[in-house]
Symmetry: C2
Subunit: 231 residues, 2 copies
């Protein structure tokens, strides 16, 4: 499938590497196109050139471009920008290029202006996902994956036991595709809970302050939560 | 041990019943003392009369009283009021009666004025626990247990597998007592994570919006999260 990723940072590339491995045609993107194309290898993450080379081998051309290029490229579009810049990036991607498409929003809108730990730019009575859905009413926004580190997002089996992922959004079919295809079939999630409409993204985004504390308490970003119910 | 519980609702009585079963001398409390004393049996929860009878059998007298009575009674004090009324209730309990004591805060400050689901009265850059610690600087406030239903709080083994409880607070010794005695030894928690100082209570309180959605998704209030790390 053709996947457009809005963003070119660590999360965007981790997703792109996994999606490429699964045989999809992926385009990452940046505000400054030359920046996206020039992105060097970071740690174990492939560079844009690596993506391009790997995709050429698969007979595919897309690799890195502008936000609008990625939105045009994608049958499904993933918002993997820093949450504080997501609305601006999606505006550049273009409402017309997102219309009718599933828009997977995995961003967290963190405010670092007050120092560490960051606070949330939107919360309690609002959320980034709601703002995105309101700004792009023809996109089919699904909030998911923002509750885990990028490595865990695409490889939940890395954790010792199955953990839980969430989906929230107003479009039932979009949520079902995200659950069964993207999360379960592609990434290997085993417990996916639908927590409700797009306003449920508030709860998912409000997990981040505890997530940050847990990274400190456990000493690793590679953790997740598992929901356990009384049997 | 003598335990004072600020509050007389479902959470207060569930805790009181468990603490009584463990052989402690417990006093629940209410703004209107006669109300606390007159509280009838609710479901499986004992009434104030049941408490009084059970405690008389143990040779103990305390059962129900005013907020100040409970604070005086307790070597440890537990805030089990509705979070929107906690500061007022603790004010009535009296700063002098709380000074030097461990004050376990398990309240969630929910705002129902906008309908369901409720929002939080304090969040992101503030929390109820921080407000309590600031208002009662001589109390040793530990935030814990607010992340689970009352039944799960006192009987985590009811869930199919071990799950995680958190502690946050500025007083290391107080947190250590809460972790090893109240949570592990008395209630049977097996994975207790210290998430940091009192400001970490923000993350714990901000779990509530997702908790409410999860109650809807799982169909039960008897659930909890387990933190799983990469091994």
């Amino acid at each position: 499938m053709d996947i457009g990723i809005i963003g070119s940072g660590t999360v965007a590339r981790t997703l792109a590497a996994k999606l490429l491995e699964l045989g999809h045609s992926v385009m990452i993107s940046s505000r400054d196109t030359s920046l996206a194309k020039d992105l060097g290898r970071r740690g174990t993450l492939p560079s844009a050139d690596d993506f391009a080379a790997a995709q050429r081998e698969l007979g595919r051309e897309a690799a890195a471009g502008s936000f609008a290029d990625a939105a045009v490229h994608g049958e499904v579009v993933i918002n993997a920008t820093a949450g504080g810049h997501s609305l601006e990036a999606l505006e550049a991607a273009g409402a017309a290029n997102l219309a009718g498409k599933i828009l997977v929003d995995l961003a967290n809108a963190l405010d670092f202006s007050g120092g560490m730990p960051p606070t949330l730019l939107f919360c309690n009575t609002d959320s980034l996902a709601e703002r995105i859905q309101a700004a792009f009413p023809e996109a089919r926004v699904v909030k998911t994956l923002n509750t885990a580190n990028a490595v865990v997002m695409v490889d939940p089996a890395r954790l010792g036991e199955p953990t839980t992922m969430f989906v929230a959004g107003d479009d039932r079919e979009a949520k079902e595709w995200v659950r069964t295809e993207l999360l379960e079939s592609w990434f290997g999630w085993r417990q996916v809970l639908d927590v409700g409409d797009i306003t449920a993204a508030r709860g998912l985004e409000m997990w981040m302050p505890l997530w940050l504390r847990l990274m400190g308490a456990t000493g690793t970003p590679w953790f997740n939560l598992r929901i356990v119910t009384a049997s």
